[in-house]
């Protein structure tokens, strides 16, 4: 199975950020997000590493990945921006395919 960047963006934004992490309650809506949105940085969403676990576990389940080895370097690199998360998802899909 393959998902386009837009489909992944849609899942990350709507299912994870707005719904699961309840960013909608903080006044965010889908238009506020793009691939350039920074996740960890205070200049962006300013999420912490616990929030990011929700994102990674959500991705594992949605795309039926083998468990992702979650460590702090991985989080810093992969979860910098929504774009870098989408890169990770697509590269894992290639492995799975």
């Amino acid at each position: 199975m393959n998902f386009s960047r837009n489909e992944i963006l849609d899942f990350v934004v709507n299912s994870i950020f707005l719904d699961r992490l309840e960013l909608a309650d903080d006044g965010y809506s889908a238009e506020d997000f793009s691939e350039e949105t920074l996740i960890l940085s205070e200049q962006g969403l300013g999420l912490d590493s616990v929030d990011v676990l929700d994102l990674l576990v959500g991705i594992e389940k949605k795309y039926q990945f083998k468990p992702i080895e979650i460590d702090s370097t991985f989080i810093d690199e992969v979860c910098a921006s929504i774009g870098s998360v989408i890169d990770m998802v697509q590269s894992r899909m290639k492995i799975a395919a």
Partner: protein
């Protein structure tokens, strides 16, 4: 002559403990001549030199030693130094410590290990080796700097809280073994105190904690030092952990 040891005493809470002791000695002038302060640091040479110079100006001849709790040979060398120079210890204030914060599920093994080695094993190793010197004093105090995280837990600080909980448990174990030999053993559990350890953190880590304390603001190193000082007088407080947390959730 009394010997009082303060680990990690060149900055933060440890430094406030040293300042408090010095102020007390000054109030009671004979105490200056009757007490020897031994202060350790790990790597901050500039702060150690600054403390030495300040104490010298005050007429206090303190002994400032480098010691790394995470390195057992360094701990042993320090105890040898105290043994050879003073032959006893009247008080051991185990203040030195460190933290590594973050989501536990994503924390690197090395960050967990360094906390266990420094805060828990290092502190225990130092105390175990000091026991004969404390016994030699006849009546002695041992104080551990635990943390509120070790009492009621703190998200983002799982291994740190584990080591501090462990230290609280160790204070109880030590009291079981030596409580009948006039060794007074207690722990202090600070909440958020304004030191380098805390200013390095993202305010999001502690703002909610401050709002959830009846005092509503951060404590100062002197607040903790006051409690430590009161525990240096032998009494009926034993194997207890005193929270200095501004009334967290109470």
């Amino acid at each position: 002559m009394k010997t009082i040891i303060v680990t990690g005493g060149t900055r933060g809470i440890g430094r406030a403990i040293v300042d408090m002791l010095v102020a007390k000695f000054k109030q009671n002038v004979p105490a200056v001549a009757q007490t020897r302060l031994v202060v350790t640091y790990r790597s901050g040479v500039a702060q150690a030199d600054a403390l030495a110079a300040e104490l010298k100006d005050l007429g206090i001849d303190a002994d400032i030693q480098q010691m790394d709790l995470a390195d057992l040979s360094s701990v042993t060398a320090f105890v040898q130094h105290v043994t050879q120079t003073y032959g006893k210890a009247d008080a051991l204030i185990n203040n030195a410590g460190m933290t590594n914060d973050g989501s536990f599920l994503a924390m690197a093994d090395a960050d967990v290990a360094s906390l266990i080695h420094t805060n828990l094993n290092g502190t225990i190793a130092l105390t175990e080796q000091m026991v004969p010197l404390l016994q030699q004093a006849g009546c002695s105090s041992v104080i551990f700097m635990a943390s509120a995280a070790g009492v009621y837990g703190k998200e983002g600080q799982v291994p740190y809280a584990t080591t501090k909980g462990g230290i609280i448990g160790y204070s109880q174990l030590l009291a079981r073994r030596y409580g009948r030999q006039r060794m007074y053993i207690n722990a202090v559990a600070p909440g958020f105190i304004a030191t380098d350890m805390v200013t390095a953190l993202d305010p999001a880590m502690f703002e909610h904690t401050l709002n959830n304390a009846s005092i509503g603001s951060m404590g100062t190193p002197a607040d903790v030092a006051n409690v430590v000082h009161s525990l240096l007088t032998p009494g009926y407080i034993q194997a207890t952990t005193i929270k200095v947390d501004g009334g967290h959730l109470r």
